[in-house]
């Protein structure tokens, strides 16, 4: 799919902006702190309602303003026009409309306008805590399976209730009442993770091999916190753990503790890979995400590259290009073009203090 245009109001440092895009490669050029990443963030919000920077909704509202408005127009892969409108304000509450129809649930937006974002924060996926990896996995799986999203939301809600009961030392039957919905959600979550993970892993292995010209191999390995293959088995796990859970005042075990490892030649890349290899692994993970979304949704995602293309060495950069379908629309930012030769291939905008001005091709010729 392709983004044809975006209108923004009061998004971070961007007061009011209306941009049209005519090509597949768009570059936002400008010094730090001018608003390049903010625009990518806004595009990302249209596909997942979340900031890829992990920022809260409120922090994306321009200072002194009360409401953000985003309007995007897409061309889908079948040539049809699609549009989405998103509004959110200080008081909370988001309004989403897709093609003029109000959308009530996150699940109805997720996966409609897929995007994959590369940013310098990505190294967290290798180096940081399991919760970063889980967030990534949950978002990818939720975008491709509404059943997964429903189960995940149900799981966290039931767990919240159960934890309140554990903390206030409620009687067993009351806690049990909430373990039923916890167990049935856990069953669905783990089943889908078990089904979809192999496909993600395959995409990951292929992309890492492609990135390194088959010199190195990397795998994703799913590490469930505990394994159960039926709702009844989950029920007995929560039953068994209840005593200890009571002491801690929270649910200690379950899919909310699952993790996966990124293995480089069979060893955990968190400890055994060099910084350069870790960068490659993260990049391969994003490429895998891209192909997985494309395969599952049947839609070409947008690629958002926040200040990362310039950081890759030339051979990785050209391999990276080769792995993505040539007609994938990419939006990139940087303080300069990734390389001198690249000025002409981009449709570019100069970014300054939240303003975006197209750079005519002729101006970059000299």
């Amino acid at each position: 799919m392709r983004l044809l245009g975006i209108n923004l109001e009061n998004f971070r440092n961007i007061g009011s902006l209306s941009l049209e895009f005519g090509t597949d490669r768009i570059f936002f050029l400008g010094a730090n702190g001018q608003g390049k990443s903010n625009l990518l963030e806004a595009i990302g919000v249209c596909s997942t309602l979340r900031s890829f920077r992990g920022a809260s909704t409120e922090s994306m509202i321009k200072e002194g303003e009360s409401e953000v408005r985003l309007f995007v127009r897409f061309l889908d892969d079948d040539g049809g026009d699609r549009e989405a409108m998103i509004r959110f304000g200080k008081k909370g509450g988001k309004t989403v409309e897709v093609d003029g129809e109000p959308v009530k649930r996150l699940g109805d937006l997720l996966g409609q306008f897929p995007s994959v974002c590369l940013s310098s924060r990505d190294f967290r996926l290798v180096r940081e805590s399991p919760s970063d990896r889980r967030k990534w996995m949950d978002l990818v799986l939720s975008s491709t399976s509404s059943k997964y999203l429903t189960a995940l939301q149900g799981y966290y809600r039931s767990m919240k209730e159960r934890n309140v009961l554990l903390k206030k030392k409620a009687a067993d039957p009351e806690i049990q009442a909430f373990e039923h919905s916890l167990a049935s959600s856990a069953q669905v979550i783990q089943q889908i993770r078990g089904e979809l993970f192999p496909a993600l892993d395959l995409a990951f292995e292929q992309s890492y091999a492609g990135l390194t010209n088959d010199k190195e191999s990397a795998q994703l390995s799913y590490n469930p916190d505990c394994l159960a293959d039926s709702t009844d088995k989950w029920l007995s796990i929560y039953e068994q753990e209840r005593m200890r859970d009571r002491q801690v005042g929270s649910t200690r075990r379950g899919p909310h503790r699952d993790d996966f490892s990124l293995l480089l030649d069979g060893r955990d890349s968190r400890h055994y890979a060099s910084e350069g290899q870790q960068k490659g692994i993260v990049l391969a993970l994003r490429v895998a995400e891209f192909s997985f979304l494309k395969y599952k949704l049947g839609t070409m995602p947008l690629l958002l590259a926040d200040d990362v293309l310039g950081e890759l060495d030339p051979s990785r950069r050209s391999n990276f290009r080769k792995m993505l379908p040539p007609n994938a629309q990419s939006f990139a930012t940087g303080t300069s073009f990734p390389s001198d030769k690249e000025e002409e291939i981009w449709e570019s905008f100069r970014v300054q203090s939240g303003g975006f001005v197209p750079i005519p091709l002729s101006a970059t010729d000299g």
């Binding site: 429903t150 209730e161 206030k168 009351e174 049990q176």
Partner: protein, 189 residues
């Protein structure tokens, strides 16, 4: 106005509208309303048996001898009972819980209308209990709790109302969650 705003279903604007109407536009209506509210609060209270609104100790349903006392339908609120009665499809008796289990909001079993529920099951007249609670997570948990703690100990048939497509509605416009429960609850022909 603040007092009006705190009522369920009224936001800032509607509260403002109602307040203006009662004070400026139609002050007569406001005295009438106050009288009626006073009368209603004095006359009505919860039915001692089922929790429905009642003018006496028992509500009209519990007092009636035309209802089938072997069937008991459990509902969350009085409005649910009204909805069932409007439909006129159920001839048994009701029991209103006045809520559902929601620990995060501080609602535990002690806040639900359960003691009178156990009392009315004592004499063994009730043969079937129909759980007509919503199919959200709290409704689900409440059903499990009641089944385990109250009905499980007795010889009572426990059923739960089905969930699925609204009648007259086609498959096309149903959302996925509804379709899933409709499929789960399919019947053989």
């Amino acid at each position: 106005m603040q007092a009006l705003k705190s009522l369920p279903g009224l936001g800032y604007r509607s509260a403002e509208k109602v307040a203006l109407h009662l004070i400026v536009e139609n002050p007569k209506a406001s005295t009438g309303l106050v009288d009626r509210l006073t009368q209603a609060t004095e006359a009505l209270g919860p039915c001692h048996t089922c929790g429905n609104l009642a003018e006496n100790q028992l509500c009209s349903l519990c007092a009636s001898d035309e209802r089938d006392s072997s069937q008991l339908c459990i509902v969350e609120g009085v409005t649910d009972l009204f909805a069932m009665e409007r439909a006129g499809i159920f001839r048994g008796l009701y029991h209103v819980l006045h809520g559902k289990l929601a620990p995060v909001r501080g609602v535990g079993p002690e806040k639900l209308n359960l003691i009178s529920l156990e009392n009315r099951l004592e004499d063994g007249k009730v043969k079937e209990v129909i759980l007509a609670l919503g199919n959200d997570m709290e409704g689900e948990a409440t059903c499990h709790y009641l089944n385990q703690e109250i009905f499980g100990k007795r010889e009572i048939q426990v059923t739960r109302i089905g969930f699925g497509l609204p009648s007259g509605g086609g498959v096309t416009y149903a959302d996925e969650v509804t379709l899933r429960s409709a499929l789960d609850g399919r019947k053989s022909m």
